[in-house]
Symmetry: C2
Subunit: 271 residues, 2 copies
């Protein structure tokens, strides 16, 4: 096996163990707060699904239920085909560590063309200032950076109006948006988009609630193969009640196409 | 076993077959277009998950991948606990007919209180005219009613501004909203909300595309136990491209609380 040219591909490497099982190594570089980033695990599940289907390498709908935090170290990814048709296949994927289930997911995958002309759209891409006018997450408070080594994996340039939380003045709107690009220039693809949908800080930062927000469930829809270049990402929430909130994410590519949408249900951080 | 007082409970009856398997009977009354309503199947999956967990009867996050259309007749529902903690459990549920997989789902369930005061909300309930000023779906075009026996199961009163599609004048906004109540007065609960999120006509009706829209994936989040009475339901879409669209649903209860949210990825109807 050749060594991948880009670090994300190295971090998502799957070693075939037979019968749809794969070995993976979760590196400390993807830690965020108490565990490995949920988006990285989602990408791992999406990639494993594609590996057990015939010519359907692109995740289209991925639903993951996060049952325990993943830690750096080895993991076993098991992908079981539930149905395979001509154009789509559905696969059940588990990520386990030392026999403990971390994540169980369902993945429907197929082939995806680069986004064709959208037929009808009222969604609009986020209105982000140019990259040089945005605020790199790497300039965040040191106590944040220390617990989020993941921020070394990608450039995240936040909208200057959405970083008030860093200086004690959150906007209160429940909105974050940012430019995103992997640090070593690896271009986005349908698998990497699954990481992107869980890359920003929790949207609860913008409503004055600090702390990490454990994900119960996250479903991502990959709507088209992304064009090369920077991605624009938004997180929004509209309802926080009973200790839970939804976080909606959109990812737009450099050709102004909505390439991924996701929603997660997360627990309110203790603050 | 006593006979349920309400028809939905009869239609969701699960006969234990041992080892987490249950027998169910899908009745013709839930047919919509080419098969059994996806919301009814979702409710069946949610109920089966609660039945194999200890004191966690309320579905909270349900992700279903629809792999083939279900037909009226017997079905086998298999629920397999993947992890059970103190407050939450995660269950994998399959619905099969004659050995063919119809739906595979992941259900995270627990106990749910009636909605407490929301902590922070920008979502607003749909602005529906009083029920008597809305348009019963039962007054729809006969060619529609004929292929949707499901409309005999609940009262669906559509916003008068969102029924232009019935007379060839869709609004084009991608928005449908309606009042919903089960015909025999059965009050809503967390399981029945899983039917409600897939009860309205496809939102594509409102953008001038007739025909049924097969669901690939639907995830519902039940946010609180609903108060008794009428529910208000909205469907929206913001992006139709590459032959797919997302349909977002919100369900609000009589106490003005957002009790369920869902998103489905569906294929564009052929029109």
């Amino acid at each position: 096996m050749s060594v991948p040219a880009f670090e994300l591909d190295l971090h998502l490497a799957l070693e075939p163990l037979g019968s749809g099982s794969f070995g993976a190594e979760l590196v400390p570089g993807w830690v965020v707060g108490g565990g490995i980033n949920g988006g990285l695990l989602l990408a791992l599940a999406g990639k494993a699904a594609g590996a057990v289907l015939d010519g359907k390498a692109n995740p289209i709908a991925v639903s993951a239920h996060y049952v325990s935090p993943a830690a750096p170290g080895p993991a076993v990814v098991t992908a079981r085909v539930r149905r395979e048709g001509r154009s789509l296949g559905t696969v059940a994927v588990d990520v386990e560590q030392e026999g403990q289930l971390r994540l169980t997911a369902l993945v429907t995958a197929g082939s995806l063309a680069p986004g064709e002309e959208a037929e009808r759209v009222t969604a609009v891409p986020p209105d982000l200032p140019p990259t040089e006018k945005c605020v790199p997450a790497s300039m965040g408070p040191p106590e944040l950076l220390e617990i989020v080594p993941m921020l070394g994996r990608f450039d995240l340039l936040l909208h200057p109006d959405h970083v008030g939380w860093a200086t004690g003045a959150p906007s209160g709107r429940g909105l974050l948006s940012a430019w995103y690009r992997l640090v070593d220039g690896r271009e986005p693809d349908p698998v990497s988009l699954l990481q992107v949908v869980d890359a920003l800080p929790p949207v609860t930062f913008d409503i004055g609630i600090p702390g990490w927000a454990p994900t119960l469930e996250l479903t991502a829809h990959v709507r088209a193969a992304p064009a090369p270049g920077w991605l624009r990402v938004t997180h929004t929430t509209r309802y926080l009640a009973g200790g839970m909130f939804e976080e909606d994410c959109e990812v737009w590519d450099s050709a102004d196409r909505l390439v991924a949408q996701s929603r997660q249900l997360a627990r309110r951080p203790r603050g």
